[in-house]
């Protein structure tokens, strides 16, 4: 999947994440169609149901789209900084903003010794970046530049918006499936005897709809996590595009993975937003399907493909992993 230049990695990651998002759309469509046909005997019912579910999902999406970043910043205990309170951080952010040709985002600091960072904001004109005091202390200027490049790339690639849209669809699938399963098991049973026409075919579709309603939420959640991982790889490759320096980011990743501190303000709800997964247990198991981020080892190896270095040996990898 990855190749020797960051351009190659960038287009591969974009393509893969779009394909996966497309898969979610297909799953949503199939579920809606099956449910509509099964319940009403007519796919039009499914279209109505899908649209309704999307509408409901979008309501929370809209709230998140416009107010989400303020909420996340407050929940994370971030305080705004400027030229006089954090000159070097502001300089590094400004350099990346020039390289990316985006407006300067609002910059925040989180008082925590665990090194981490996140970016939020619906588009480059309304973006915020937060870093922890731990990150500022532990990384040098080049490494900080790599991390900020990664975070600014999330903004530039509209990842927050992309994740929101995928999230709305996954939410719609869950709503649709949940509603249908309740309806079927707690009141829908009678209907099968008053349906006119349809008959055998409808009964088969009914069974398919139930199977889909059980599986679709799980499958779409897996796809959502895979999309998140792709966008993380994309942000790493885009950071290299901005800095033209894969070594800074690679060293930052290695330093952060070796750090045992726990980021206190992070939780399951916000974990996907951070530079590396702040929940240490999840980070350790993160080469699996269930993780929001790719493992640090995989991320370092992808960067090594750009510089032509050999991938991490097993002892180096074990040393980096060092997590219980």
């Amino acid at each position: 999947m990855a190749s020797g230049s960051f351009y190659g990695q960038i287009s591969a990651n974009k393509r893969n994440s779009l394909l996966m998002a497309g898969l979610v759309v297909i799953v949503l469509g199939l579920l809606g169609f099956a449910i509509g046909y099964a319940v009403v005997g007519d796919p039009a019912g499914g279209v109505v149901a899908t649209v309704l579910a999307l509408g409901l999902g979008s309501l929370s999406g809209v709230a998140s789209f416009f107010g989400g970043d303020k909420l996340v910043l407050t929940v994370s205990g971030a305080r705004p900084v400027d030229e006089s309170s954090a000159p070097q951080l502001m300089n590094v952010v400004r350099e990346m903003a020039i390289s990316a040709n985006v407006p300067m985002p609002a910059v925040y600091i989180i008082d925590d010794s665990a090194p981490n960072a996140f970016a939020t904001g619906r588009d480059p004109a309304h973006a915020s970046i937060a870093v922890t005091t731990g990150l500022l202390e532990k990384l040098d200027r080049e490494e900080l530049q790599g991390v900020i490049g990664h975070e600014l790339s999330h903004v530039r690639n509209f990842d927050i918006r992309f994740a929101l849209m995928v999230g709305v669809m996954v939410g719609a699938i869950a709503i649709l499936a949940d509603f249908f399963l309740r309806f079927t098991f707690w009141g829908g049973g009678r209907r099968s005897s008053n349906r006119e026409g349809g008959g055998g075919a409808q009964a088969i579709v009914f069974v398919i709809a139930i199977v889909l309603a059980i599986l679709a939420p799980i499958i779409s959640r897996f796809i959502q996590l895979a999309v998140n991982r792709q966008r993380e790889y994309l942000a790493d490759a885009s950071s290299v595009e901005l800095t033209r320096n894969p070594y800074g980011l690679e060293r930052a990743l290695a330093k952060i993975s070796g750090d045992a501190e726990v980021l206190e303000v992070a939780n399951r709800g916000t974990q996907h937003m951070y530079f590396t997964n702040p929940i240490k247990k999840f980070e350790a198991r993160s080469s699996g399907l269930m993780s929001t981020h790719p493992s640090i080892i995989d991320r370092i190896n992808r960067l090594r493909q750009l510089t032509g270095e050999a991938p991490l040996g097993s002892s180096e990898a074990a040393g980096l992993a060092g997590l219980e």
Binding site: P87, Q88, N91, R94, E95, I98, A100, N101, R141, L242
Partner: protein, 189 residues
């Protein structure tokens, strides 16, 4: 109306719309190049303004390194003057200034009192970020040139580009000697 006529009209309309869209896209990419170039100017001027403060801050400590300091001051004056002499002269003068600054940074490393001085540290950070901003501006400029050049060379834009006279733009080259690390002469006098 005759269906063939309708189809022909529709095709013509679509073609016109496509040509307009491609033309506008090329104009936009070309303008981005000009904007990126102007941004480099902004950063270069910022550097000119910072240098006198840095020279003053380190002068007192660097008794016998006057040559390095006068080199920087002279290069700065030359760069400011070159602003009105055209892009080639300007680029050469700015590159000269960059290499004198590099020598100055290399020398400062050897003065512990200087390295600990807050004034100097803050100025050094400002100059570091200015140098970075200059090179990222140049990098972004090259990115806009690449985008534009790629567009005018690929189908279908290449046809429109030929018709309306869009020509390739030049990349910004790194200064000659950038590959060479500056050696610092620490002999007295």
């Amino acid at each position: 109306m005759d269906p063939t006529l309708i189809i022909i009209l529709a095709v013509v309309v679509v073609l016109v719309v496509v040509v307009i869209a491609i033309y506008n896209g090329l104009i936009q990419k070309r303008l981005r190049i000009d904007e990126a170039f102007a941004q480099i100017e902004v950063q270069l001027k910022r550097r000119h303004d910072l240098i006198p403060n840095l020279v003053n801050a380190v002068k007192g400590y660097m008794g016998f390194e006057q040559k390095v300091l006068t080199d920087v001051t002279n290069a700065r004056a030359a760069a400011v003057a070159a602003g009105s002499q055209g892009p080639a002269q300007q680029a050469a003068a700015e590159n000269m200034l960059t290499s004198t600054l590099r020598s100055l940074f290399a020398v400062v490393e050897n003065y512990p009192e200087l390295k600990a001085n807050e004034n100097v540290l803050s100025l050094q950070e400002q100059l570091t970020t200015t140098e970075n901003q200059i090179s990222f501006s140049r990098q972004h400029y090259n990115a806009t040139v690449l985008d534009y050049n790629t567009n005018i060379a690929t189908v279908p834009s290449v046809l429109i580009a030929g018709m309306f006279g869009f020509t390739k733009r030049e990349f910004f080259d790194a200064e000659p000697g950038a590959e060479v690390t500056p050696t610092v002469d620490l002999s007295l006098g």
